[in-house]
């Protein structure tokens, strides 16, 4: 049965409440769980440290490593200003240069990254900037959305619901830009990458909102990093297009508290420790 977690300001609370809800369901699993962060990027002090300690203890990737699969913030040097309609050409060029350096830096490392067996199908950010993601020279979906959102702003349009159409094949059509497509239409695999299948954007009254759809959300290992990465992605788009940062929703069509990977007691202790931080 579907369940919407009450919208909260921080991604830390969104993660915690989603984990607590799902862990309380039969077998620690639930369908159609939606979490909403009203201020993407904001975290509660100490929660990430708690999760990282847990992940490190269990030999899992850190929050930062997971986050950078969605948006490699380490490779982006943001200029200290936003794009705006009528911005000076040199300022616009500076923003473009920062984005290009990000894309180039990632494309530089992509061959090495996909040489790892786990990444053989590509990476999330790779799919965003060179779809279908394994090789340089694919479609840069992210840049196309920057151009479209700037175009909307230049035209004085502050609401655009065509950005939120969710049709796989249209992801590659330059004339029509739905959400970022992460799932290839000829991909018939039932497990593994990509768990994040689609990122949907809606521009409403000048604010850019996002919805990420996960076909399988691993709430202990991945969800917190996913929220951080999606927040960074939104921030990048927001800076590059001058849109205000809207809300971030994460829809796990299948939410998994990972009882088959971690002991229930350990999951409960992790949630309790994080809860203490949130409650401070």
């Amino acid at each position: 049965m579907s369940h919407a977690i009450e919208p909260v300001q921080s991604l830390s609370e969104a993660w915690l409440r989603t984990l607590q809800y799902t862990a309380a369901q039969k077998n620690g699993r639930a369908v159609h769980v939606v979490a909403t962060v009203t201020q993407p990027g904001v975290e509660i002090d100490g929660v990430r440290t708690t999760i990282d300690a847990f992940l490190n203890e269990h030999g899992c990737q850190s929050v930062e490593t997971v986050a950078e699969t969605i948006f490699p913030a380490s490779l982006y040097t943001p200029p200290p200003f936003d794009w705006a309609p009528g911005i000076a050409k040199d300022k616009e060029a500076e923003l473009d240069e920062a984005a290009t350096r990000l894309y180039d830096a990632y494309l530089d490392i992509l061959p090495l990254v996909v040489s790892v067996h786990a990444n053989r199908r590509g990476t999330y950010f790779g799919r965003m900037i060179t779809y279908p993601g394994r090789e340089v020279g694919g479609v840069n979906q992210l840049d196309a959305r920057v151009r479209r959102l700037r175009s909307e702003a230049n035209a004085g349009r502050r609401t655009n619901n065509t950005l939120d159409m969710d049709l796989a094949a249209d992801a590659l059509d330059d004339s029509f830009l739905p959400g970022l497509q992460e799932y290839s239409e000829n991909d018939n695999r039932t497990r593994g990458f990509p768990c994040l299948t689609h990122i949907d954007f809606t521009l409403h009254e000048g604010r850019l909102h996002a919805l990420a759809v996960y076909r399988h959300q691993y709430l202990v290992e991945k969800a917190y990093g996913n929220l951080v990465g999606l927040s960074s992605l939104m921030s990048f788009l927001s800076q590059q297009t001058g849109c205000e940062l809207g809300e971030l929703a994460m829809h796990a069509t299948f939410a998994d508290a990972q009882r088959s990977t971690f002991a229930s007691r350990d999951i409960a202790e992790l949630a309790a420790s994080a809860s203490l931080q949130v409650g401070r």
Partner: protein, 153 residues
Amino acid sequence: MTWEATDASLWRSNSQSHRTHLTSVSEYLTICVMNYDAPSVPAPPPLPSGPIPQLDGGRLRRCTEAELGNELNALVRGALPAVGLNELAADGSPRIASLVAVWMITQVAKAVGQPRLVSLSQVKAEELRSIAGVARLAYNALRAGPAQAAAAS
């Protein structure tokens, strides 16, 4: 309850147009929270001016492991100024994100003309957590030579 901002919100806070948003109360129902104090956030580092620094392949081959670490440190500071190198890893060198480590390995590989200098699938995660770890990895790969590097990939 206290707040910390991720890199994402730090970028936003430096934008005049978003300060109001980040310091305002959400229109949605939330628990009682203290908002993040945007104006106190320091400005981000400036964009690197001019071309991205390049490594000299010939010099890298002659470097000691420590010298290689210095080269990598300078490279990151020049090309990726947003990467903070203030936090130290267990080995005493600057802690880095694994993605930055992969980027550094790629730059060394390009500089010496050996795209498969390092086989990432054979690298331990700990080696990708610090500049010294990457320097050690690159130093050993350079000493191993192209044939061994290709065989390992």
